[in-house]
């Protein structure tokens, strides 16, 4: 056993195993080490965190201060995690880069599966511990390790003074490990391991400051809401096993087309998978946990709740593209839930004042876009938006982290207990934090869909594909897709509005922090602004790797001069080809014009101009609004504003109609079923036994004569019985 694990570890570090796809020239370079490095980082940081925690506990027991991280304890609890945490990420990113480079060089037709050992074997069902390397997992690995590395670096600055510094990096490394298992696992079972693992890390990191009841509760909420989705994932996996007797990706997709197109089984499988995706990717109606998840440290929000974990649902749908393509109902559901969520979350974001809440609802909204993309069969577009979103949303979160960091310091220095996250307390920060301001504007323009930033290409591609899909000859619900398209366009405008509003409230206008505090505001340290700059560059130019075919020859696509046009689309082709084939056979050619006429170029120009106009108008109107700091804000919100500010009262509705009934039912089970019926029965049995025992013990008089008498009566009864 132990030696087996040891041998596996050696195999891992040597990139061992054998490539399943014969003839592929792609030679994986230490893929196991990509996964193993963050795990090692977790172990190292975890040991440091444990030692650190024990030392503090000893200090408290000895009557000392509860000192989790004074300057004196820095060497072991600060320097080592500082190097280990981002260090393992750098290592993983470099190995991923090497693999990416090698994969670029060959045209990989089939996924390369690297087997390590058999994880479980029960009868005919076996699951291997195997990593699958293909174009999709490679893109995800690049995002996770690349963006993850930047966020780790940012965290060094952001979490510098936190007492739980080593614990933070331990959790973060563990998260990356599980996320890599999620995207690299070669089967749904292994994916589920990562799926649950990232859920755990999300819970641990949301509740990182668990001493605060509200934050601990937010962690629990995320964990519990995710469980609902996980049930769906599990059921889908069971159905998959029932249908194919395996849950490995390669054989499942190879045999998928034996299922009837649009059949009940494939629809059930995909809908249950989508339920899992809805939970993990915070779509309606299970999105409620993500805004609360902002209770965690801001880099965590950037990494887990914007760039990586929440996109796992999109990855799941993209990975299962063959299955989803086989079920038009499920695909329409995916797109519909995505479109509704995109609009719904965007409207809530309009009235939020907490900078992280705005970004949280924005994330929910953007995830909706990704689901629209994968729902209309534009899997490459969905993954494309996933990637660009990872860049600009990570940047936005990190930027907001830098702002919160500065605000927190300012309030801390004057000992004022104001909300460091409320935008009403900010304003005019441009003067104090120019780099943050500039980089965040890049991200804002990107998310708003302004040409030539990354978000323009990815979002526009999704919107266009929605229209094109609805216009296909055999499209199942053409009107529905037209509605999705309109919703997507409307949500794009809302996005431009609320993001610009956030920027204006935070960075422009007059400063509302307070005079003494304003003096303390400062730009973020280098460990924080360098990642911002890198992400800003990616947000600005990342979109050019996938300029849609139709517009690459227009001025929007650089008149065909740019060589990377449709690169991502072609890159993912081997994986999406089967799904596209199914789609083409059953639905026919996609439409080349939007529902109300006009080609892709026209609508792309229209949308980016409209977004630009919205941005400019917002700068004017919000800039002119009189905004007052939280302490002085006495505005009573009414009507729609109140409805949006209170997030449509969804949390209250859930509380009233789901949480409270469950609590009531639990209370009933506890007070009545358990305490009365079950305990009552048990107690009654006990009491009856006791009573009978007490009654019978009356015969135990201690008098030999009585015993003799009873004995004689017994003899008489036996003799008498023999009479009859």
């Amino acid at each position: 056993m132990v030696s087996g694990v040891f041998a596996s570890l050696i195999a891992l570090t040597q990139g061992g195993g054998q490539a399943a796809a014969e003839g592929a020239h792609f030679e994986p370079f230490l893929p196991g080490l990509v996964v193993l490095l963050p795990l090692l980082g977790f172990l190292a940081n975890g040991i440091l965190a444990l030692r650190h925690g024990r030392a503090s506990a000893d200090a408290v027991r000895a009557g000392g201060e509860f000192n989790l991280g004074g300057p004196d304890s820095r060497p072991s609890t600060h320097t080592l995690p500082t190097w280990i945490g981002p260090g393992v990420m750098a290592g993983a990113f470099l190995i991923t880069l090497v693999n990416f480079g090698r994969m670029l060089g060959v045209h990989l037709e089939a996924p390369v599966v690297v087997h390590y050992w058999t994880w479980m074997a029960t009868g005919t069902f076996t699951v291997d511990a195997a990593l699958q390397l293909d174009q999709l997992s490679m893109i995800m690995m690049m995002i996770i390790t690349g963006v993850g590395f930047l966020i780790h670096v940012f965290s060094v600055g952001y979490m510098k003074e936190d007492p739980g510094y080593p614990r933070y990096f331990a959790y973060l490394n563990l998260f990356v490990f599980f996320m890599l298992v999620l995207v690299m696992g070669s089967s749904y079972a292994l994916m589920f391991v990562g799926w649950e693992g990232v859920g755990l890390c999300s819970y641990l990191l949301i509740g990182f400051w668990f001493a605060d009841r509200e934050k601990a509760d937010a962690g629990k909420k995320a964990f519990i809401v995710n469980r609902i989705g996980d049930v769906g994932f599990l059921i889908a996996m069971f159905l998959l096993y029932k249908a194919f007797h395996t849950v490995d990706f390669v054989p499942v997709f190879a045999e998928a087309e034996t299922l009837a197109y649009g059949g009940a089984l494939v629809t059930a499988i995909t809908l249950f998978f989508f339920l899992g995706a809805v939970g993990k990717s915070a779509q309606m109606p299970l999105y409620v946990w993500l805004p609360d998840a902002m209770a965690g440290p801001t880099p965590v929000s950037a990494l887990i709740h914007a760039a990586t974990m929440v996109t796992a649902g999109v990855y799941l749908v993209a990975r299962s593209s063959v299955l989803f393509a086989l079920s038009p109902v499920a695909s329409a559901t995916v797109a519909g839930v995505g479109a509704l969520t995109a609009l719904f979350a965007a409207t809530i974001a309009l009235k939020q004042n907490d900078i992280k809440k705005v970004l949280a609802y924005s994330t929910v909204s953007q995830l909706g876009y990704m689901f629209v993309g994968v729902g209309v069969g534009a899997y490459a577009a969905g993954v494309f938006h996933l990637m660009t979103h990872a860049f600009f949303k990570a940047l936005l979160f990190l930027g907001s982290g830098a702002v919160i960091h500065a605000m927190h310091h300012a309030y801390h220095s004057t000992h004022r207990h104001e909300d460091a996250q409320d935008m009403r307390n900010m304003g005019g920060l441009k003067a104090y934090m120019p780099i943050t301001w500039a980089t965040m504007w890049v991200a804002t323009l990107a998310i708003a869909g302004i040409w030539p930033f990354a978000g323009f290409f990815s979002k526009d591609e999704i919107i266009w594909q929605t229209a094109a899909f609805g216009g296909a000859a055999g499209a199942p619900f053409p009107t529905l897709y037209t509605i999705y398209w309109i919703i997507a366009l409307a949500a794009a405008m809302l996005t431009a509005f609320y993001m610009t509003r956030m920027m204006v409230m935070t960075f422009h206008g007059t400063n509302r922090t307070g005079e003494a505090e304003a003096k303390q505001l400062h730009e973020a340290p280098a460990t924080m602004w360098i990642p911002l700059a890198v992400l800003a560059a990616l947000s600005a130019f990342g979109g050019w790797i996938n300029v849609p075919e139709a517009i690459q020859n227009s001025f929007l696509g650089g008149m065909g001069a740019f060589p990377m046009s449709e690169w991502l689309h072609h890159w993912l082709e081997p994986l999406t080809a089967q799904a596209h084939h199914i789609q083409e056979v059953n639905l026919g050619e996609l439409s080349h014009s939007a529902p109300f006429g006009g080609g892709e170029v026209l609508w792309a120009v229209l949308s980016t101009v409209a977004a630009g106009v919205v941005v400019l108008l917002t700068i004017r109107t919000v800039g002119r609004q009189k905004i007052v700091s939280v302490a002085e804000d006495t505005t009573e919100l009414t009507g729609i504003s109140a409805l949006l500010y209170n997030k449509y009262y969804v949390d209250e509705i859930y509380d009233r109609f789901i949480v409270q009934p469950i609590i009531e039912a639990s209370r009933f089970c506890w007070r009545v079923v358990d305490a009365r019926i079950i305990d009552g029965t048990v107690n009654a049995v006990g009491l009856v036994s006791k009573g009978i025992g007490w009654g019978i013990s009356m015969f135990q008089t201690g008098s030999v004569n009585t015993y003799a008498f009873i004995l004689t009566v017994g003899v008489l009864v036996i003799l008498g019985a023999s009479l009859f």
């Binding site: 007490w694 013990s697 009356m698 135990q700 008089t701 201690g702 008098s703 030999v704 004569n705 003799a708 008498f709 004689t712």
Partner: protein
């Protein structure tokens, strides 16, 4: 004559039982048990007139058992007496509810 012997046996057994029930002196109770045993012995002997020598042999064994029982029983009475200074069974009521 066999019937008469059986009647006598029944009478002796009943008297023994009655004595066992109403006397409180452990030794007398013991004697009453012996009386019951003897009553049964008598019926065995009587039946041996009908069914053969086996009845008598059974009586032989009963006597042996009675001897063993008397030895052990009296030893127990002696040790109880050492403790309680009496053989009145109403005094030995430690084992009750």
């Amino acid at each position: 004559m066999i019937t008469e012997a059986l009647v006598l046996s029944a009478i002796l057994f009943v008297i023994g039982t009655f004595g066992f029930l109403v006397r409180r002196n452990a030794i007398i109770m013991f004697l009453c048990v012996e009386l019951q045993l003897n009553a049964v012995n008598l019926s065995f002997v009587a039946f041996s007139r009908m069914w053969g020598i086996d009845g008598q042999i059974f009586v032989f064994f009963v006597m042996t058992v009675a001897a063993a029982e008397a030895a052990v029983g009296l030893a127990i009475i002696i040790s109880i007496f050492r403790h309680y200074e009496t053989v009145n069974v109403d005094s030995f009521n430690l084992l009750k509810w």
